[in-house]
Amino acid sequence: MQSSDIRKLINQAQKGDKDAFGQIYKLYLKKIYRFVYFSVRNKELAEDLTQTTFYKAWISLPKFSVEEGTIQAFLFTIARHLIIDESRKKKEISATSFGEGFEQFLSDDPGPEELAFKQEIKDFVWHALRKLKTSERNIIVLRFFEELEYSEIAQIIGKKEGAIRVMIHRILLKLKGQVEDQ
């Protein structure tokens, strides 16, 4: 969908058109869900937080301005705050449990190559990403997995673009160091 079409949908939704917001929901559901799931690693909780993200987005939509950022960044900002609130409730989600649940996203009947591939990922997830803080993992996810612009991440994290570049550089170095140590 083109950005002009998304702007049109936002405009209609801001005027109270729920069906237009429904299209925005369908457009970003997968992105928000996987971002949330990657942090909370619990299906039910990820579903709840995803729905709450869109609920809050609808409530705050009149305040949103396309001039100040993208709707994607707006949704990720809400989701990120919900994840932070959740991790405060449960303290930091146990680092040792990180990575659980990822197997289900791979093929049900993996061949030898896929098994090796799966093991590689597991190793990586277990030994490198688990050592990052939730906030650091979120930044890596947004930049390298969701491929968001620096300006969008800056909008989500609430920092300047330059600061985000420095942060990403620092987190990558940390991550590389952990991977190379293995």
């Binding site: 997968k30 990657f38 609920y55």
Partner: protein
């Protein structure tokens, strides 16, 4: 395997994360139903809480005002007398009139006599009046407001005389109060002697 390649592998796994089919299929319907359910907006809840707080504050103010009003008729020994003393201090601070207290003590003497309070209460009001006159006189000498105090005490003396003229049975008490007033209008030496006597007692 290079770091960048590993990162790509994780990205592939990440992008394979899919919301459950139930969420994809019914998520929007469920959310839409929730959006259509009328809920009190957060601002309304806040407004209601503010209203409650304001209402409680108003009740408290009305109650406080009632207590303060009622305390103005209190005499020594009454439960509300301490409230009266506190409000007096506030009145002195706000109005800047240093003779407020001496006026109140004179009113208490008249009130105790007119209400035919027992001798203990009347005696205490006269004693309080005497102490306040001495204190105020001392302050007036320092601030140069002796003339103003004299006028005030003359006026009080007149009020005491009016009570006697009304045929009060406590003529003796009124005469004691008049004596205090007269001494208050006298020189500083008298007041120091009176203060000494008061301390000796």
């Amino acid at each position: 395997m290079k770091f960048e390649e590993k990162l790509k592998l994780v990205k592939k796994t990440y992008l394979d994360i899919n919301p459950p089919a139930s969420l994809v299929e019914y998520g929007w319907q469920a959310l839409k139903a929730e959006l259509e359910t009328p809920k009190p907006p957060i601002r309304s809840v806040l407004k209601f809480r503010l209203f409650l707080a304001g209402f409680a504050g108003l009740i408290f103010l009305i109650f406080s005002f009632g207590v303060v009003q009622a305390s103005q008729k209190a005499l020594p020994g009454d439960p509300l007398y301490p409230v009266k003393k506190v409000t007096e201090s506030i009145e002195v601070y706000v109005s800047g009139d240093k003779h407020v207290k001496v006026g109140k003590r004179a009113e208490e003497v008249i009130q105790a006599v007119e209400d035919k309070k027992d001798q203990g209460v009347v005696g205490e009001t006269i004693k309080n009046y005497q102490d306040e006159v001495l204190k105020t006189k001392k302050d007036a000498e320092k601030s140069g407001e002796e003339q103003k105090l004299k006028q005030k005490l003359e006026s009080q003396e007149q009020q005491f005389n009016d009570v006697i003229k009304k045929g009060s049975s406590s003529k003796g008490d009124m005469e004691k109060a008049i004596e205090v007033s007269k001494k208050g209008r006298g020189g500083a030496d008298d007041s120091e002697k009176d203060e000494q006597k008061s301390e000796d007692k």
